[in-house]
């Protein structure tokens, strides 16, 4: 049983929430270009984003081994014995169970519009949606969104801290790792010490792990196959997507780094 919980937890690793700011690109491009020209050989921006890279890479390798040897085979087996519609139903069901945590974080962020949507989704999907297996709310135009305490802290102005790869839980930052711990502690099922609660916890974790890993079998394999540095690739995807989650879709393209606006690029024209 221990092992199962462990595997479950590690699945979350890959599927964990997400990010901080790796998009540097601030200030005047020409000034920036000059500074870069004078910069020492050390990659300052990368070092800042990931000061614990040595540790992180080791953790990443451990997680990746677990993933390859246990989780992916289990996810493939899960895919083999279930139908696409059943898997979608389970994903919806697990997402619905998470709704209360999302609601709390919506409110903590002062996002009352989104809190209303979260509540409507929970009510509609838990009833008309057969206890959460279906997603009729989405058909009504109330789309799913995700929140967690790490995002709430970000909204409150807490900066991400260094990127960190957690054992089993995978890519995170100091802030988001702390946020994840708070979200776990806020889950009532963690504190109920009865046998049914324990079964519920284990099943939810196990199914949640497989259910979240299964749709990623091919995309992650593709990313790995195309990457020259899989670790750096995942770090960038995590940090970029996390930033988007925190902004709740309020896109800000100004934060992007410039591509080809330095004077040195003019030779190319």
């Amino acid at each position: 049983m221990k092992l199962f919980a462990l595997i479950a937890a590690s699945s979350l690793a890959l599927a964990a929430h997400a990010q901080a700011a790796q998009l540097t690109g601030s200030g005047d491009p020409e000034v920036l270009a000059e500074e870069l020209g004078d910069a020492p050989v050390e990659d300052a921006s990368v070092a800042e984003a990931d000061p614990w890279e040595g540790f992180n890479r080791k953790m990443f390798a451990v997680n990746d081994t677990l993933d390859r040897s246990l989780i992916v085979p289990a996810a493939k087996a899960y895919r083999a014995v279930t139908h696409k519609k059943q898997r979608k139903g389970l994903r919806n069901f697990i997402a619905n169970l998470r709704t209360p945590v999302i609601l709390v974080n919506d409110i903590l962020q002062g996002e009352f519009g989104r809190a209303g949507k979260t509540t409507s989704r929970f009510v509609i999907n838990s009833t008309v949606g057969f206890g959460g297996m279906g997603d009729p709310a989405e058909r009504l135009g109330i789309e799913q969104h995700s929140e967690d305490f790490g995002q709430t802290l970000a909204v409150w102005g807490v900066s991400s801290g260094p990127y960190v790869v957690l054992p089993f839980f995978g890519p995170s930052t100091v802030r988001d790792g702390f946020g994840a711990a708070v979200d776990i502690a806020a889950d009532p099922a963690i504190w109920i010490r009865t046998e049914p609660a324990q079964y519920f916890r284990y099943s939810r974790t196990g199914v949640g792990l497989l259910s979240s890993r299964e749709p990623l079998i091919e995309p992650l394999a593709d990313i790995k196959a195309d990457s020259l540095d899989y670790y750096a690739s995942i770090r960038s995807f995590y940090l970029q997507s996390r930033q988007r989650e925190i902004l709740n879709g309020r896109t800000n393209f100004d934060d992007l780094p410039d591509i080809g606006e330095f004077e040195e690029f003019d030779e190319l024209e």
Binding site: L14, A18, E42, S45, A225, L228, Q240, E245, F253
Partner: protein
Amino acid sequence: MPAITRRLAMRLALRLTAASAAIAAFAATPAAADEAAEQYVQSILDEAAPMLQSGDQNAMLDAVAQMVDKYVDMRRIGRFVLGQYARQMTDAQAAEYYPLFERYATQVYQNSLSNYAGEPLAVTGSVDRSERDIIVNSKLVNPEPGSAFANAVIHWRVYHSRDGALSVVDAGADNVWLAIEQRSQFTSIIANNGGGERGIDALIAEIRARVG
């Protein structure tokens, strides 16, 4: 679904649609739009759609390579992904690096599109970061209901050179960008191999090993 799951699904969407074609309304209506850039992207998408739907695998891979060669500014991207190390590259290294980078990046597109189903994309709007740097957004025209990609916004970053020519310099899905991800990989490889010229040599060797 956890964010990274969605994000990776989006990347898949991007990979699947990186060279395809055609409607919807981008949620945050852009304050400034650039019609020339929008038309430019739409014409690329329209041109790509039939090629990507043809059943012949090899013909499709060739078509992708041609499209990339025609519209994507590989030299600009190749320089961007080196980050601050671009300035430390010697002429000899540059002569070796750029052709290799182009082959590598083209190969990434080809791999991504090998399972592509040819669903058309339509431009939905654009945002000017500056008059030379335009983000064009697109969405799937007829997404399968409930598909993870149904609401994905596929971005195209268009560079407007001083002489008026347009080119694509990055592609992304829901604010996750490929060239930024590549820069993270490349600068990381350079830094972990001693930085500077030595690190750049190591990067060149890695890419060479990949493209053969």
